[in-house]
């Protein structure tokens, strides 16, 4: 196991607390892989944080940039990392060595919340639980390529790949789109075999004349080759398409595959940020306030807990939103505040007072109440989008004082527009869908029958940023090696952005422009 160098084991006191906390976590029916805590110094924890939580990553300047940011943040007292945890089996979590004991206890409780979420949330079910080893392998392989091909070349290639690392399809891991291994392979060779009619050997050259066979083989090969370059339906996993069809060298394909693998590994964490942090905060709060907090630690715990959950101008705190929503769900299911009649009720007062059953009395442990049972279910099968969609209620929006804001060009500031529930919910879903990033699809890999790549942006309310789109297109061209095109709606006009390796062009899409092999639905 590639452990972070110089990491140290827990002190006796921390080990004692870990044993206590893990017992309470199990008692509360949290279910997690074995969790290993390491105590790191500030510098080490900054390194690990820069690497996205891993002790080993491939060499790349971007991690150095992250590292500098963290260092600077700390120097100016803007932020301190309390915890970090990796979705892995066993789970690895890091503690900062100069934190106070009460912080370490809170972090441990928080970490067990995360570990339970990693193990049980369905969106994490397809992630590689040996990612720690895999990341180390990636590092070794990239280092080898750097030794062989030079830093500049490998680094430039990684930069190019990173430009499109967000063009993946997080849902595809649940769908079997590619033919299964073992099923009938349809290779180019097989698809190009001409039809042969059965014939006795002496008749063969008359029934299956060699010229016809040659001709047919040729046309079939061409047709098959063309077909291989066309996705069956609009394909969101642009990375995969490029990986399969772009003329990449072996090492390049390997690097691109690594970046794709890592993107898929991190994707569920982006999809469940609010839930994951909310769940972990719910449990650190429950475990600490019910069991592990000592009198003299109370003030410091409250200070740091409220600091973590504080709302500040300019951002919606996922910790706060998550924990409040989980608590709200628990309350509602404990008092029967759900169901079709409740959902249909439009009278705010009535909704507020809604109660069809009495909440449980005394301390609830584990799944010992309908509310608790519900939130355990929610943590297993929802992601942020469905979480907000299903459980955001007008009362919650009101209690949390959420509002919808908009940029005011007159004052140059953000102003509150209104507190309309539907508008707020729509806006939140909008921001969360695809992690606030545009949907890009492959429509054709043999556009105009010239092996050109045709991508399309699926418009759903907001235009693409043109400058970035043009720059990104240039990077895709470097990978594809033939001209690339991007169809996008800009100011309600369908536009085609193209880059042929030398020149960037854009034109309005009209009849004169050939359509791609398949259309965006």
């Amino acid at each position: 196991m590639p452990n972070p160098s110089n990491s140290s084991r827990l002190t006796d006191e921390l080990a004692k607390w870990r044993d206590i906390i893990v017992e309470y976590a199990r008692m509360e029916e949290l279910d997690f892989y074995e969790t290993i805590f390491e105590v790191l110094e500030l510098d080490q924890i900054n390194q690990v944080a820069a690497y996205g939580g891993f002790p080993q990553r491939y060499p790349h300047w971007r991690f150095g940039m992250e590292y500098e940011k963290l260092q600077r943040q700390h120097r100016y007292g803007l932020g301190k990392i309390y915890e970090m945890v990796i979705n892995n089996d066993p789970c690895y979590a890091y503690l900062l060595n100069d934190n106070a004991i009460v912080d370490q206890k809170t972090v441990m409780a928080h970490v067990y919340g995360h570990c339970d979420f990693f193990k049980n949330n369905i969106w994490f079910s397809q992630t590689n639980r040996r990612m720690m080893d895999e990341m180390a392998n990636h590092a070794t392989r990239v280092r080898r390529y750097i030794d062989r091909h030079g830093l500049e070349q490998v680094e430039t290639f990684i930069d190019t790949c990173l430009s499109i690392e967000n063009l993946i399809d997080p849902h595809s891991v649940f769908v079997q789109r590619q033919p299964r291994r073992g099923s009938k392979p349809t290779s180019l060779h097989e698809a190009s075999q001409p039809t042969k009619y059965p014939a006795k050997s002496y008749m063969d050259r008359y029934i299956n004349p060699p010229e016809r066979l040659e001709d047919e083989k040729k046309t079939r090969t061409e047709a098959a080759a063309a077909k291989l370059n066309i996705p069956a339906s609009p394909m969101r996993d642009v990375l995969l398409f490029i990986l399969q069809h772009a003329p990449l060298k072996d090492w390049q394909a390997d690097v691109l595959a690594m970046i794709r693998e890592e993107a898929y590994y991190f994707a569920p964490q982006g999809q469940t940020k609010i839930m994951n942090e909310g769940w972990a905060s719910y449990w650190h709060s429950t475990i600490m306030t019910n069991y592990c907090l000592r009198d003299h630690e109370l003030v410091m715990y409250c200070d740091h807990h409220s600091g973590t959950l504080a709302t500040s101008p300019g951002r919606l705190n996922p910790y706060k939103l998550g924990i409040e929503l989980f608590r709200d769900i628990e309350r509602r299911w404990n008092t029967g505040k759900h169901g079709i009649e409740y959902d249909r009720c439009e009278d705010m007062e009535e909704r507020r007072k809604w109660q069809t059953m009495d909440p449980p009395e005394g301390r609830v442990v584990g799944k010992g109440s309908p509310g608790r049972e519900k939130i355990f279910e929610v943590r297993a099968i929802y992601n942020d989008v469905t979480f907000i969609d299903a459980f955001l209620t007008p009362e919650f929006v009101d209690d949390q004082k959420l509002y919808h804001y908009r940029y005011d060009p007159n004052t140059g500031r953000m102003v509150v527009v209104n507190r309309d529930f539907n508008k707020i919910k729509q806006q939140m879903l909008y921001m969360l869908t695809n992690h606030g990033q545009p949907y890009i699809y492959v429509l054709d890999g043999n556009y105009r029958n010239r092996g050109e790549l045709y991508l399309a942006h699926k418009w759903n309310g907001i235009d693409l940023q043109i400058k970035y789109a043009v720059e990104t297109l240039k990077n895709i061209q470097k990978l594809w090696n033939r001209p690339v095109h991007l169809q996008a709606l800009i100011d309600e006009d369908p536009m085609l952005f193209s880059f042929d390796g030398k020149q960037s062009t854009q034109q309005r899409i009209d009849e004169a422009i050939e359509s791609p092999a398949i259309a965006l639905d």
Partner: protein
Amino acid sequence: MISSITKDHQRFRNIIKGRIRKDLRRFLTRGELIGREGKKAISIPVAGIDPPHFRYGDNDDSGVGAGEGKAGDQADTQGDGVGPGGDQEGKHILEVEVSLDELADILGEELQLPRIEPKGRKQITSQRDRYIGIRQTGPESLRHFKRTYRRALRRQIMTGIYDPDNPRIIFERSDKVFRSWKTVMSPQSNAVIIYMMDVSGSMGDEQKELVRLEAFWIDAWLRRNYQGIESRYIVHDVRAGEVDRDTFYRIREDGGTRISSAFKAARDLLENQYVTDEWNVYLFHFSDGDNSSESDSRECCQMLKEVLLPMCNMFGYCQVASAYGSGNFINVLHEYVPDEEKLITSRVNNKDDIYDSIKAFFSTGK
């Protein structure tokens, strides 16, 4: 062993420096860096570091926040909000901190400036004793009491003669440890820069902006080459006087120009406060070259030759273009003070000329 993050970090710094070097002409000619400098470091906006991604444009700046307030109130000061808007453009620009020394190095490499050889007295060093070590022998006055006590205590406990009820500690000779010192030699090369500026009516804001930019880079480069450096500022029209830095850039006067007044003020300053044998002296004069009289210009040349040039490492005259002035002073200098390698003149007509002007001033390595 160097940890891998250190390598990544160094690589990142190198990339940053490369970008700054590439954009140096832009930084030199636009005032982007002015006012961004801290004590030792400067925050520089570097564009295009992050790989570009497909992303949404900023034509829909809205989001959801939490907090008090009614419709129409400002959202960014009360409660929080998140949305796709606001910082779209800004995100691609990365603020990095570069030390002033690094920036000067980049300037030096890009402009191929030779390092300055402080004039003639490299041997002059100051010595300082620093007490940083411990040793077994030394004078009693330097005895390290705490350590000595600890050693004695330890010895007594080990040998079993320590009595907790009567805790008397008696030093032996072998217990004693002493502070030791090391003499640190620090080379002394001090420099003073005197900026002189013509603030007569013909020098407008535009001209002053040029001066300000030029002075920033002169400062940066000289600071890199000397440890202790002082800047003094003199403004003049028909009279001259010393001012502080802020005033220097802000002051606005009317009236004529008598350049000799500034030269006299500089001479007085040098003679009173900077014994020239120990100081590397840099004089810079910024003007639109519109001196009031020919005779005063000649007096200036006289002073330059006889007094100022012998005192200084370099005299830089930078003439900025002005709509009003005749700009004749630079020609007078060329005519009456020829072949003086310490006198360097340059014309700055617009911001693009600053690059060459800096290069002209420092390419001799004085």
